[in-house]
């Protein structure tokens, strides 16, 4: 290895190499040689340093680690120095400096958040271009992680869904990351230590982004829990249980002896009376309603109805039809709202027959009003619907018979024809 440097107006070139026996140093001095001929060992190099002819740093910069170690110019072993060098290199060259928690770069993030939270609504094109410029500068100056910045942009959009400026901000971030970052928000609510349901604003934000084509349904759907298979299994078990309970209504155990009848502990033989049946029904409805909070796909469906994205709402209706989404009052209301708002523009014809049937699995009163609405919308669909409508008992849950019939109908819809 050759070491060259200017020193006190002399150009010095020193050759350092390895020979068979050990380290040696040779040199050639250009100009007036002030170092005598014939020095050739690490001792001489040391002497150069000690006599302050050549600064130590010059050697440290230029020589091999082994040489430095043997001429006592470094304090740590050659191997350690080498590994340290690799570490430093890695840090300098192969590690990105990015801060993704607010606390790690509070000035940068405070400015970003302030900027995004005080954008007035109805801003012009210039304003959005200016905002994009500021965001990029903030990222550049404070080494903010663009993915986290994107996350914060989404948070602020969630707070102000009507502010159109965000629609100009979102495209500056990679599209492929959008659904992942959004999905990460859903994953938070799947943690065991978090008991809150996903806020409806997140569903609406997601639905809005899907509607605007910033992300597609499938990529966000992958993040949602429970998975379809699990939800379907759970639902099957649930309706089987309900049916089972309904079948017990009015059943009399003829084999029971007097003693058995007296024994109140024997649950299996006790017939369920009318009030118990009604309680059961209320309980079941309550149990179902908790499903809406825990099921993220259903939440997203609500989001679509909320932002009037009929197309994607339909896609989810079809996918989740096994769960009878319209059975939930909120979803059913959302559906009515959409129907009322969209009127003729919704093509119910495009609805699969299964999904149409699905609409009728909402509460009976609601389905009746739905049928009337549908009649106004589309005669074709109405003709399809009437036979189903006729099967709906008028005062379903009022009598015991009605209840069991209703459950029976439910069963028919699930098992038989669907």
């Amino acid at each position: 290895m050759e070491v060259r440097f200017w020193w006190c107006g002399y150009f010095i070139s020193i050759r350092v190499g390895v020979s068979g026996t050990g380290k040696w140093l040779s040199r050639s001095v250009v100009g007036d040689g002030f170092v005598g001929e014939g020095f050739g060992s690490r001792r001489d190099a040391k002497w150069l340093v000690e006599s302050a002819l050549v600064p130590l740093r010059f050697f440290q910069e230029r020589c091999e680690e082994e040489f430095l170690w043997e001429s006592e110019m470094i304090k740590i072993k050659a191997a350690d120095l080498k590994s340290k060098e690799v570490r430093v290199n890695t840090r300098l060259l192969y590690q990105q400096t990015k801060f993704n928690l607010l606390r790690e770069e509070s000035e940068g993030y405070a400015k970003l958040v302030t900027l995004l939270c005080q954008i007035p609504e109805g801003s012009t094109q210039n304003a959005s271009a200016a905002t994009v410029g500021i965001i990029k500068s903030l990222i550049g100056h404070f080494d903010l992680d663009p993915n986290r910045v994107f996350d914060i942009v989404l948070e602020c959009f969630e707070r102000q869904p009507c502010n159109s400026i965000f629609l100009d901000l979102i495209p500056i971030f990679p599209k492929s990351h959008a659904s992942q970052i959004l999905g990460f928000k859903f994953q938070y609510y799947q943690r065991l230590e978090v008991n809150d349901p996903v806020p409806s604003e997140i569903y609406q934000l997601t639905a809005l982004l899907v509607k605007r084509d910033f992300i597609d349904v499938d990529s966000i759907y992958a993040h949602l829990l429970p998975k379809e298979e699990d939800a379907f299994d759970h639902y099957n078990a649930f309706s089987a249980k309900r049916l089972d309970e309904a079948n017990k209504i009015g059943r009399i155990n003829l084999a029971a002896t007097g003693k058995d009848l007296m024994d109140e502990e024997k649950q299996g033989d006790v017939t369920v009376d009318l009030y118990a049946a009604l309680d059961m029904e209320t309980e079941a409805v309550a149990e179902r309603s908790s499903e809406l909070e825990s099921s993220q796909p259903l939440g997203l469906l609500m989001g679509f109805l909320e932002v009037d994205d009929w197309y994607h709402a339909r896609v989810l209706f079809d996918r989740l039809s096994h769960l009878n989404p319209a059975e939930h009052v909120q979803i059913c209301d959302g559906l009515f709202r959409t129907l009322a708002r969209e009127g003729q523009s919704i093509s119910l014809r495009a609805f699969s027959p299964r999904a149409i049937l699905n609409l009728f699995s909402c509460t009976w009163d609601q389905s009746r009003s739905l049928v009337f609405r549908v009649r106004k919308l589309d005669d074709f669909i109405y003709t399809k619907c009437v036979p189903i409508y006729n099967q709906i008992p008028t005062h379903a849950s009022a009598t015991l018979g009605g209840l069991s019939e209703k459950l029976q109908n439910l069963d028919n819809y699930h098992g038989g024809r669907w």
């Binding site: 060098e85 690799v86 290199n89 300098l92 060259l93 192969y94 990105q96 990015k98 801060f99 993704n100 928690l101 607010l102 606390r103 790690e104 770069e105 000035e107 940068g108 405070a110 400015k111 302030t114 939270c117 005080q118 007035p120 012009t124 200016a130 905002t131 410029g133 500021i134 965001i135 990029k136 500068s137 903030l138 990222i139 550049g140 100056h141 404070f142 080494d143 903010l144 992680d145 663009p146 914060i152 948070e155 602020c156 500056i172 971030f173 990679p174 990351h177 992942q180 970052i181 999905g183 928000k185 994953q187 938070y188 597609d216 499938d218 990529s219 992958a222 896609v315 996918r319 495009a350």
Partner: protein, 568 residues
Amino acid sequence: MGNRASGEGPPHGSRVGSSGVKFTAAAVQSGQKVMKYGGSIVDGESSQGQIPRLLDIVLYLCEKEHVEGGMIFQLLEDLTEMSTMRNCEDVFGYIESKQDILGKPELFARGKLVMLRTCNQLLRRLSKANDVVFCGRIIMFLAHFFPLSERSAVNIKGVFNTSNETKYETEAPEGISIDFNFYRTLWSLQEHFCNPPSLINAPGKWHKFTSSLTVVLNTFEAQPLSDEEGNAHNLEDDAATFNIKYLTSSKLMGLELKDPSFRRHVLVQCLILFDYLKVWCTSEKRANENVPNVASAGVLPGEAAPGKSEKELPSESMVGIAFAKEEIKTSEQRVKKLLEMTPPKGIDFLHSIEHILERERNWVWWKRDGCPPFEKQPVEKKLVQDGTKKRRPRWRLGNKELSQLWRWADQYPNALTDTQRVCTPAITDYWKPLAEDMDESAGIEAEYHHKNNRVYCWKGLRFSMRQDLEDFPDLNMVLRGSASWALPTEVRARYQAKPSERTKRTKKEETTQRNKQKIRLHATNSSITKSPLHNSELLHSTLRKMAAYAAMKPCQPVGSSHRADSQD
């Protein structure tokens, strides 16, 4: 040293590299922009320069795997290294424009490290004050180029940006109207904001911080902003004057105190800091309850029990922490109150900030857990479930075959009228392969027999019907099972009616017997002539004899013969 070990191109690669060097050197000499050098200039519009052309070629070759995939990255690194910053902007523009190709998996794998190195070196050369937009571009490119869970980008240790120093004047300038002590107090806060762990580790600093903060909050409270000052705010003007880094000139102090955005920046920083400290306080309590220490070196003392902090907090025990907690709580209340009071729309603003801090927890936990990747890929099979896409295609003429035939006819109008095509093969020629099958000496296995081919049989029966109706029923027998659909409907219905178990068996026996006889008959014929297959006359006579044999029995449709069988 050693950082260039990877990706040294093969021999022909270095040749490309050297011509790149030549171009660059020539460009530098001619004083032109590197990326524009050599481009012809027509009507003021310059076409592509020589270096981009060279890069395009190499990129193409890399993409098609004609040269080692890492070479394009190597070239780009070399190019940025020997270009001035102004030229680097063009080079980087080229990189951005080719992002999609460079990001392809096969190229990405070869060049990601080189690209990371290139970008890091570029960032190091750029000034954080003057080239912020370019810095931002590079950082955003990296975020796009690498997957979301790239380990090198997540700051896994949770390092704080301590390099973000805020310098301010220490000597009061002559003739200044503001309170210089306040000026110093305000800006001294920044040193704590950029390094929160220092507050935890040194109690002295904590006291200094709280007293400074109290002074600042007092001043803010004493000078509330009016609504006019709040409404003077306009985004477009803001953008022109937006200062990325705080401006700390003492001359600006008075203006800054009247600027609602400035006030918000400082207050939001306070809330962020408190958010961090609060978590730390609660976890410190846990640490005292002998929860095992998890976090290493206290880089992220929050969330997990901190390791070092216990030792380094000598004077403060539980009491001190409780006290600090109380202080944080009161300060937080004051800051929130101030934010609420700051126009415009202070309350909304505060809610938004609280919302963002609340959601921050997701990321804090993520970092606590070691930044696990959170990407999920969509399930492929779900993609087709879409209602409209799933619908089967409609064919113009009922089904795909017919539609295709129709289209062909459109394309080749002569094809159907060609005299060579409009002809019906002679029935004898047509049945030749069938006869071949029946020749036992040929030893063709049953599964390869032509009678299994329904289209062949159907066509044959149609021909027979037209040319040789006499043989038709018998042929039908031969092809039984595969050709029943050629029969008239009511006959077919009877044929297909499920016979009882017994009838089925007898039918089977009878069929085999008859077939045997037929084959025997055929065999005698073939023994007469050596090659019956090439003699269509003979085949024809065979078929005739077959027909004659069939005629010995009353010539009945298949179904009725069953009934006769089952009766005896």
